[in-house]
């Protein structure tokens, strides 16, 4: 793609936009705004049939395939599969073409890898301990970034992490990883003792401290990892969708001066899109930073 000029990119983008816009009403339904058959695509595009604020239902779209079964595929799952395919594809190509003297794409990938390794894992765990966990956390970071970013990519418009299943899977992965690390390092009893009965505390305190620590280690850490990510991505989607819906409503339905408010909501949409990119990166960073901290705590000899 690097050799494409701005004009070709624009042309391809426009073609994809037209194609996707033509297909999307058929695939995802017409959202109650009337069929596209009689009026044509362009009038459908600029029509507003009342204000449609986003809702929690956005995260539970209709099934595309195998509805009602455990194999149900809906919009979120499609987005996840697409994002994973792009992530694996891009990185596989970069890894395949990787050279000792890097090109631009490879340099970017290496910057990301270095960021995770140096700024997060080695910073938290120290160089020696970090070696074992850098690949896990790098994978986690890249996956979360890509799954978060689908929230601001046109036509996907929904973060793959905004439906809680994926954050739960990732949090569980970290959970089992740090439990295993703790048990391997201290032995089962040793790990339980180290994490539930932190040394240097008079024993009556354990009556209070031990249940709290147990809740921390076995429930709260993975739960907060998953919830923080999901909640952030849901909020981001609601915010963006609200801005877009308002803009559509103000531009194509409201009359007179009120239509000008649409400019405001459009500016907000642009600002929030950029903000969501930031949040996507930040949440990925927070997730792996905390994962590294939890892993390190499990390996720590003394609290």
């Amino acid at each position: 793609m690097a050799h494409l000029g701005a004009f070709e990119t624009l042309a391809i983008g426009a073609a994809m936009f037209t194609l996707a816009a033509a297909i999307s009403p058929m695939v995802f339904g017409t959202d109650g705004t009337g069929g596209s058959g009689t009026d044509g695509f362009w009038s459908w595009l600029v029509r507003s049939n009342g204000f449609h604020p986003p809702s929690v239902l956005d995260f539970f779209p209709d099934a595309v395939l195998f509805g009602g079964t455990v194999f149900e595929v809906n919009r979120v799952v499609v987005i996840r599969i697409l994002a994973a395919a792009v992530l694996i594809g891009v990185f596989a190509i970069v890894a395949q073409r990787a050279r000792v003297i890097p090109r631009r794409g490879q340099a970017l990938v290496e910057i990301l890898m270095d960021f995770v390794r140096v700024q997060v894992v080695e910073e938290v765990m120290g160089k020696e301990r970090a070696k074992r966990y850098v690949p896990f956390l790098t994978t986690l970071f890249l996956a979360i970034v890509v799954f978060n970013l689908t929230g601001v990519i046109p036509f996907l418009n929904l973060a793959a992490t905004s439906l809680i299943g994926l954050p739960i899977v990732m949090a569980l992965w970290v959970y089992f990883l740090y439990l295993a690390a703790g048990v391997r390092h201290h032995g089962l009893g040793g790990y339980l003792k180290a994490s539930l009965f932190p040394p240097g505390v008079p024993w009556p305190i354990y009556i209070l401290l031990t249940p709290v620590e147990a809740l921390q280690v076995f429930v709260l850490r993975p739960a907060t990892l998953a919830l923080r990510l999901t909640a952030n991505m849901m909020a981001g989607h609601l915010l963006l969708a609200l801005c877009f819906a308002a803009t559509q409503f103000f531009f194509f339905e409201a009359s007179g001066a009120i239509a000008g408010v649409g400019a405001l909501s459009l500016s907000a949409a642009i600002a929030f899109t950029l903000f969501e990119v930031f949040v996507a990166l930040l949440q990925a960073y927070v997730f792996i930073m905390l994962s590294a901290v939890y892993l390190n705590m499990a390996l720590e000899d003394e609290h």
């Binding site: 809702s55 929690v56 239902l57 995260f59 539970f60 195998f66 079964t69 455990v70 194999f71 149900e72 595929v73 809906n74 979120v76 799952v77 996840r80 599969i81 994973a84 992530l87 694996i88 990185f91 596989a92 970069v94 890894a95 395949q96 990787a98 050279r99 000792v100 003297i101 490879q106 990938v109 290496e110 890898m113 690949p135 896990f136 790098t138 994978t139 890249l142 996956a143 439906l163 809680i164 299943g165 994926l166 739960i168 899977v169 990732m170 992965w173 919830l227 999901t230 849901m234």
Partner: protein, 184 residues
């Protein structure tokens, strides 16, 4: 337990609870995430890390090579400096030697010359002495004859007065002079 039941019933309702995952959500998340993890752990990250290691090795090799070259240069410089110092010392030594030798030669020559001169002088003195001896011998033998002749003439002339006596002595001495001149 009650809370869970409430959450579950809320999930059943018209607005699903976004905190409870649907079974297909978990299943597909697991599949997708597992694919990513496998791809990255098995293939992508090892490949990239191999390249990174290779680069680190190349850079380290380069640094090592540069260090070796530098050390070599430093050693060469040290050697050259040592050699130069040695050469300078050698030159100084040679100069000193030459100077000493020259002085020695000079003094020897001078001593030789003095010796030669003394020898020559000695020879000259000897020659002169020999000449004097010869002259003395010659004179001694002549003086007898001459004295005899002079005495004879004095007797023969019958010396009357001092004037005549004076005249005879003068004539004799003149004659002696002329013979010496004729001989010399």
């Amino acid at each position: 337990m009650f809370a869970l039941t409430v959450l579950a019933t809320a999930g059943e309702g018209s607005s699903p609870n976004p905190l409870l995952p649907a079974n297909f959500d978990l299943l597909w998340s697991l599949v997708v995430f597992a694919l990513i993890v496998i791809a990255f752990q098995r293939s992508i990250l090892p490949k990239l890390n191999k390249i990174l290691d290779e680069r680190a090795e190349t850079i380290e090799g380069g640094i090592a090579r540069a260090e070796a070259a530098q050390a070599e240069a430093a050693a060469a410089l040290k050697e050259y400096t040592a050699q130069l110092t040695e050469a300078r010392a050698e030159a100084a030594r040679l100069r000193d030697d030459a100077r000493t030798e020259a002085a020695q030669i000079l003094s020897e020559a001078r001593a030789g010359a003095v010796k030669d001169a003394e020898h020559l002088t000695e020879i000259a003195v000897k020659q002169i002495e020999a000449g004097r001896q010869q002259a003395m011998i010659a004179l001694r033998s002549d003086v007898g004859a001459l004295a005899t002749e002079l005495a004879g003439r004095i007797v023969r002339e019958a010396l009357a007065d001092d004037a005549r006596q004076q005249h005879v002595i003068d004539a004799f001495l003149d004659e002696l002079d002329s013979t010496v001149k004729a001989e010399g």
